[in-house]
């Protein structure tokens, strides 16, 4: 029987729940022998909006851009290491722009079967302006979406998975 999901993408946003989602995605990729991509989008659209509205002054824009660049590198590196730990190769992608638009396009253009996301907002506003990027991704993704709750069970499951053996395959 063909596995239902052969190509998985997990979105990282710098939150702990997105790292938990990455752990679940690694477990799933291993079980399904699927490819796994981790993506971080530097939200330059929001940053530009804040500069345009003059909420941020120039020095803040530079500082925050550097912060987000650093976050992207750090979280992608962390998830790559988590994958190595369980003998799963995690491809990493870093983009800049409008988060949900870039994620949607990437899912479509790369034939991704499943999008894995960390927690969505507990309280939902009917005001569109207050929808989070994760909520937007969930609603606009052209493929099935798995929402992973930030739960200790995921950490336990990840810990129980056999680690990769250095120099060999488990």
């Amino acid at each position: 029987m063909t596995e239902p999901f052969r190509s998985i993408l997990v979105y990282l946003d710098g939150s702990e729940s997105s790292v938990t989602a990455a752990m679940a995605a690694i477990a799933l990729a291993k079980r399904l022998s699927a490819t796994l991509t981790a993506m971080y989008v530097i939200n330059t659209q929001a940053l530009n909006d804040l500069v345009k509205a003059r909420i941020f002054v120039d020095v803040e824009e530079i500082e925050f851009r550097q912060d987000l660049e650093g976050d992207a590198e750090r979280y992608l590196r962390h998830v790559r290491k988590l994958g190595q730990q369980k003998n799963i190769e995690v491809q990493t992608v870093k983009l800049e722009g409008s988060v949900h638009t870039l994620v949607r396009n990437y899912l479509r253009d790369n034939n991704i079967d499943l999008l894995v996301l960390g927690g969505i907002s507990q309280i939902h506003s009917r005001r569109d302006e207050l929808m989070s990027e994760t909520d937007r991704m969930m609603r606009t993704a052209p493929c099935p979406v798995l929402i992973v709750r930030d739960d200790e069970k995921i950490w336990d499951m990840f810990e129980e998975m056999p680690d990769a053996v250095v120099g060999g395959i488990v």
Binding site: D13, G14, S15, N43, A46, L47, D49, L50, A53, R54, I55, F56, V57, V59, E60, F64, D67, L68, D71, S121, Q122, I123, H124, S125, R126, R127, E129, L130, M131, S132, E133
Partner: protein, 148 residues
């Protein structure tokens, strides 16, 4: 993360008791510290005032978003105040301010901080929403407006 994830009716003051820029910033910081006494009140206040020195966070249309990223806070937090009297916040359009959103974030939560600031800016861009906010008489009403 958006404003909805951190919106707390205990951190909404309607109406504000003070009517000058410095007093309002202090009032919102005090509101936050009153509910989380372990926070470093002076550290937070200094961070917000230091940021204001770089340029006023009084925007157009009566909105002000004083903000700071600081080690004095443990998680992204927002305190909201609505004034019944016009306040000179040295806003960019030269007009008085009425709606104040104090946004604070720890050093390492830049992504969430940016998303919350952007969501406040988007939500308050609507003249209808601002009119509704100005007619709110309590913290509960403000929360309801954000939920509706």
């Amino acid at each position: 993360m958006t404003l909805m994830d951190v919106l707390d009716k205990n951190l909404i003051q309607v109406p504000l008791k003070h009517s000058t820029k410095d007093e309002i910033i202090a009032e919102l910081v005090d509101l936050l510290v009153a509910h989380r006494p372990a926070l470093d009140r002076d550290g937070i206040l200094k961070a917000v005032i230091d940021r204001e020195r770089m340029g006023s966070t009084g925007l157009a249309d009566g909105i002000a978003i004083p903000h700071a990223k600081t080690a004095a806070i443990d998680r992204v937090s927002v305190a909201i105040g609505i004034s019944k009297v016009p306040v000179d916040f040295r806003a960019q359009d030269g007009k008085p301010s009425q709606f104040f959103f104090l946004v604070l974030a720890p050093e390492k939560e830049s992504a969430a901080y940016i998303e919350i600031l952007a969501s406040i800016a988007r939500a308050t861009a609507s003249p209808v929403f601002r009119r509704l906010l100005s007619s709110a008489r309590s913290a509960d009403e403000v929360v309801r407006l954000f939920l509706d």
